[in-house]
Amino acid sequence: MHIAVLAKVVPDYEVPARDFELAGNRAHSRYTRMIGLYDENAVETGIQLKEKYGAKLSIVSYGHGDDVPILRKAIAMGGDTLHLVLGDSDDPYVIAANLEMALEQIKDVDLVLAGQQSADQDRGIVHGILSEMLGYTFLAQISRIEFDQDRWTVHQNHENGSRVLQFSRKAVLSITSSHENVPRIPVVRAIMAAKKKPVEKLQGIDAAPMKAEEIKVEIPKLESICEFLPLDDLQQTAKILLARLREERYL
C-alpha cells in the first residue's frame, strides 16, 4: 500500500484579523509559514494508515524551495519521503497538473490524501481537479479511513451527520479535521532524523491555468463596537439585547 499526502505550506493561518495585511494580493511575507491546518490532519491520517496497514507514506508538495524545512515536520511526524514540485502558481489547475506530474513520477500510489482546503486560498478544489486528471475516485470531507480485503471504507463528515462509503479503486480523499486525526507532535529524535532525510525536488511544469482572471482581493477589516445595555432589570435587558440582535440581523 502506498499513500501520498498533499501538504501545502501557507502563511500563518492564525494571524489576528487586525494584524492581517496584504502585499500583492497575497498575505504579507512577514507572516510565519507553516503546513496548512487541514493538511496536517491529512498527514496524521496518513500516518495512522501507515501504522495500521504497513503502508509507505509519501509527502508531496508544490511550492518554494524555502518550504523544505517546514515540510520536514511531515516527515518527522511519520512520512517516509518528501517530494517538492518547485513552482509559485496559485492557479488550482496549474497546481493540480504539477501534483499529478509528481504522483506519476512517484508511481504506484493507491490513495491520495489532502486537507479539505488550503489555509491560504480556502478554495478546496485542487484535489477535485487532481482526481479528474488522475482518473481516480474523489471523495470529500473524509474523517476516518479503513481498509479490508481490497476495499476502502471511509466516513464522510457533514455538518449534521456522517455517511459511510466504500470503494475499491484508487482515490483522492479530502480530509477534514476530527478528534481522531489531531496532528501528533513529532518526537525529538524524529525531528532530528527528518532534518537529514533527502528531499526530491522536481522542476515544475507549465500547464493551462483556470480560465478566469483575478481582479481584486479584499480582506474586510474587523471592527468591534461595544455597546452597554442598562442592567437595572435583567428581563428588560434581555429584551433589549434580543431586539438589538434582530435589528442588526444577527438573528
Partner: protein
C-alpha cells in the same frame, strides 16, 4: 571513681561484638551505595568555585543543613525534637566512646570536673533530652498530621523510636542500679533520682549485670538495624544535603543534543528519564534519603488543590522502585502522566524539604521524556507548544499582533553601539492584551528615568515555556536563535519584564554561550527610585505583593519590589510570602492547562484579598494574568497590577 565494666565479667565481649555489628552496619550502607551507583552519572569531583565546594561536597552546607539541620527548624517543634534526639544521642555515643577509650587507652574520663559535668551530669541531661525528643516523635506518629500520612505513610518508625527509647531507659536503669549498689554520684541527677525507687534488699548486682548485657545488646542491635530501617536517614540525610547544590531552584541545566545525532549509535541516551536507572546518582540518593515527611506535599500548589500531583507521592514511588531494584521499569506508569504535567515548577517542595531533595528536577526529567520521546502532553499545552514551534510564541489564538502593544508609543529599536539596555518584552507582554500594559508602563518608566533602552524589531520568546513544558530541544533551538541575534546586535544588558525570562537568561543561556547582564524590571525600578531618577506620589494606599516563584524562590529577589511599593504606599504581607510564596498556578506551562475543581489562582487570589490591601501587586506577567483571573471569582473590582503599572500611574511628571 567509676570503674568501667564494674560488676560485669567479660564486659569486653560487647566491644568484640561491636566488630560484626559494625560490619553489618557498613554492609547495609554499602547496599544503599550499590543501588545509588546504578544511577547515570558520576558525581562531579574537583574544586568548586570560591572554595565552597570540595569534590562533590558543598562545605558550608555540611555545617548548616547537614550537621545543624537548619532547615528542619522551619517547623520549630519538629526541629527541636530532632535537635534533642540528635544532640542527646551524639553526646551519649561520645560518652560510650570515652568509656571505651578509658578501657583501652586509660583515658582519665572518670576524674574530677570532667566526670562531674560531662560523664555524669552531661550524659544524664543528654539522655533526658533524647527521651523528650523521642516522646514527641512517638506522639506525632501516634497522632500524625496529614502531611505524614497523605498520600502514603512510611512505616518502620515505631520500632526504632521504641528501640532507641529502650536503650536510653536501660542506660538510666543501669546507672541507677550502679548508684543503688555503690552509692550516689553527685551530678548523675537522673540516676540518683531513679535509684531512690529501687528496693535496697533485692539482688541489685544480678539485675545490674542482666540490664548491662541487655542494654549492650539492644544498642548493638540498633546500630546493626540502622541501614535497614528509616533511621538510615541519620547517615543519608547529611550526605544528601552536603551534596545538594545550594543554589535555589531545580537547576535543570541544558541538554547537549549532539549526543543524539548518531542515530545508529548503539548506546542512545534517553531524553529525560523513562526508567529509574536513567536518573543520576544524586537523584537516586534523594529518593533513598526521603523520609516521606510530607513537607513538600503541604506546600505544593497542585497537592493542596486536590490535583493528581503530590511531590511526596512522586519521590515515595521512586523510592519504592529503588528499594525493589526496579531499575528498568517506568515509574510514570505508577505516578501517572497527569501528575507529571500538574507540576507548576514553583519549587516550593524543594524549598520546604529539610534534606535538600530536588523533587521538581525528578518530575521535570520524567516530563522531558514524555514530551521529547513519547510526544505525550496535555491538549492545551500541545497547542501552546505547536504555536511556539511554528510562530516562536506560545499564545495560540491570540487576538494581538506583535506590534499592537506599541500603539501610540514611540519606542526605540535597539541600536548596536548606541543603546545600553535591550528591553526584553517577552511573549506574554507582547501577545496578551492585559499583559501588554506592563510593557507600555515600563516604556514610560524607562523614558521618565532617561534610561537608554531599545526593543527588538521583531518580538521573540526566550523559549522558556518549551523548557517548562519539557521540550528541551525546542528551548535550545529558540535560545540559540536568540543568542545569535543578540551577538549580531552586540546586546550585553537586558531588562526583563518576566521572571521566567530572567531565570532563563541567567540560568540556562550561559550554558549555551549567552552571557548577559540581566536585570528584572522590578529590580531596575527599585534602583531608579533609590537613585531619585523616578519620583513617585506616595499615598495612603496599601499593597500586598505576590512573590513570583521565579523571582523570590528561584532567584532570591524579594526586597526590590517591596521597596518600590513602599515608595508609593504601605506594604502588607500575605501569610505565605517571599521564598515561601504560594504559586499563582501558571508555572511549568500550566498557564495553558484545563482548570477544574479548586483552582490554584483562586486560592492565591483569596489569600491576597484577605489582606484587605487596596491593591494586589506582582512582578510577573503570568502571575498577573493568573491572579487577575483568580480575583474575578470574588470581586469585579480591578485589583491586580504589575509593579510597573503601579509605578507608572504614580509617576510625578514634570
Amino acid at each position: 571513681m567509676r570503674v568501667p565494666y564494674w560488676n560485669v565479667d567479660y564486659g569486653f565481649l560487647i566491644d568484640v561484638l561491636a566488630v560484626p555489628v559494625f560490619a553489618i552496619f557498613f554492609s547495609g550502607l554499602y547496599s544503599h551505595y550499590r543501588k545509588i551507583r546504578k544511577g547515570k552519572e558520576q558525581l562531579k569531583l574537583g574544586w568548586g568555585k570560591a572554595n565552597v565546594k570540595k569534590g562533590p561536597v558543598f562545605l558550608k552546607e555540611v555545617f548548616t543543613k547537614s550537621i545543624l539541620g537548619t532547615r528542619i527548624y522551619r517547623k520549630f517543634y519538629t526541629g527541636l525534637a530532632h535537635g534533642l534526639v540528635f544532640s542527646g544521642m551524639a553526646i551519649l555515643t561520645l560518652g560510650t566512646i570515652l568509656v571505651f577509650a578509658n578501657v583501652t587507652i586509660k583515658l582519665p574520663v572518670f576524674r574530677g570536673a570532667f566526670n562531674h559535668w560531662f560523664m555524669s551530669f552531661g550524659l544524664d541531661l543528654a539522655g533526658i533530652s533524647a527521651l523528650a525528643g523521642l516522646l514527641f516523635f512517638f506522639l506525632r506518629r501516634l497522632f500524625p498530621p496529614d502531611r505524614l500520612v497523605t498520600p502514603k505513610e512510611r512505616t518502620g518508625f515505631f520500632p526504632m523510636i521504641g528501640l532507641l527509647a529502650l536503650i536510653i531507659i536501660t542506660g538510666f536503669l543501669l546507672e541507677s542500679l550502679r548508684i543503688r549498689a555503690s552509692g550516689p554520684e553527685p551530678a548523675s541527677f537522673v540516676g540518683n533520682f531513679v535509684a531512690g525507687f529501687i528496693p535496697a534488699n533485692g539482688p541489685i548486682l544480678s539485675y545490674h549485670r542482666y540490664v548491662w548485657w541487655f542494654h549492650g545488646f539492644i544498642a548493638l542491635g540498633f546500630i546493626a538495624y540502622i541501614p535497614f530501617s528509616p533511621m538510615v536517614h541519620m547517615v543519608l540525610a547529611p550526605v544528601n544535603t552536603a551534596l545538594a547544590d545550594p543554589r535555589p531552584g531545580p537547576k535543570m541545566g541544558v541538554i547537549d543534543f549532539s549526543s543524539f545525532d548518531d542515530e545508529e549509535g548503539e548506546d542512545m541516551p534517553p531524553m529525560g528519564v523513562a526508567k529509574l536507572g536513567d536518573f543520576s546518582r544524586k537523584r537516586l540518593l534523594d529518593f533513598d534519603t526521603c523520609l516521606w515527611c510530607g513537607r513538600c506535599h503541604e506546600v505544593c500548589p497542585a497537592a493542596q488543590t486536590q490535583r493528581p500531583l503530590s511531590p511526596k507521592m512522586v519521590v515515595a514511588t521512586l523510592a519504592e522502585f529503588l528499594a525493589a531494584n526496579r531499575f528498568t521499569d517506568e515509574p510514570v506508569d505508577v505516578i501517572g502522566i497527569d501528575a507529571i504535567f500538574n507540576c507548576t515548577t514553583c519549587a516550593a517542595c524543594m524549598e520546604a524539604c529539610p534534606i535538600s531533595i530536588n523533587q521538581p528536577k525528578a518530575i521535570m526529567q520524567i516530563r522531558q521524556n514524555l514530551v521529547m520521546e513519547r510526544s505525550e502532553l496535555p491538549e492545551l499545552m500541545s497547542k501552546a507548544y505547536n504555536s511556539l514551534e511554528q510562530r516562536r510564541h506560545p499564545f495560540f489564538g491570540t487576538g494581538a499582533g506583535p506590534k499592537d502593544w506599541q500603539k501610540g508609543l514611540d519606542i526605540p529599536i535597539f541600536a548596536p553601539g548606541k543603546t545600553e539596555y535591550l528591553l526584553w518584552v517577552g511573549c506574554a507582554a507582547t501577545y496578551d492584551e492585559r499583559a501588554q500594559k506592563i510593557a507600555r508602563a515600563m516604556v514610560k518608566i524607562l523614558s521618565a528615568a532617561t534610561v537608554s533602552f531599545g526593543i527588538l524589531a521583531k518580538p521573540r520568546c526566550t523559549g522558556d515555556p518549551a523548557k517548562q513544558m519539557g521540550n528541551e530541544f525546542l528551548f535550545t533551538e529558540i535560545a540559540r536563535e536568540n543568542i545569535e541575534e543578540f551577538d549580531s546586535l552586540g546586546i550585553k544588558k537586558l531588562i526583563t519584564l518576566c521572571p521566567h525570562c530572567f531565570n532563563s537568561f541567567t540560568r540556562h543561556y550561559p550554558e549555551l554561550g549567552g552571557h548577559y547582564e540581566v536585570i528584572p524590571h522590578s529590580v531596575l525600578i527599585s534602583d531608579l527610585i533609590a537613585a531619585n531618577r523616578l519620583a513617585l506620589n506616595k499615598s495612603s494606599e496599601s499593597f500586598c505583593f505576590h512573590d513570583p516563584c521565579y523571582l523570590a524562590r528561584r532567584n532570591h529577589i524579594e526586597q526590590p519590589p517591596r521597596r518600590a511599593l513602599e515608595a508609593m504606599g504601605t506594604l502588607i504581607e500575605m501569610p505565605r510570602t517571599k521564598r515561601e510564596s504560594f504559586c499563582c498556578g501558571g508555572g511549568g506551562g500550566n498557564y495553558w492547562s484545563e482548570s477544574s475543581g479548586i483552582r490554584i489562582n483562586q486560592v492565591r487570589a483569596r489569600e491576597a484579598l484577605d489582606t484587605s490591601s487596596s491593591l494586589i501587586a506582582t512582578a510577573c506577567p503570568f502571575c498577573l494574568l493568573m491572579l487577575t483571573d483568580g480575583v474575578k471569582k470574588f470581586t469585579e473590582d480591578k485589583k491586580v497590577f504589575d509593579i510597573a503599572e503601579l509605578v507608572e500611574a504614580r509617576l510625578k511628571l514634570g
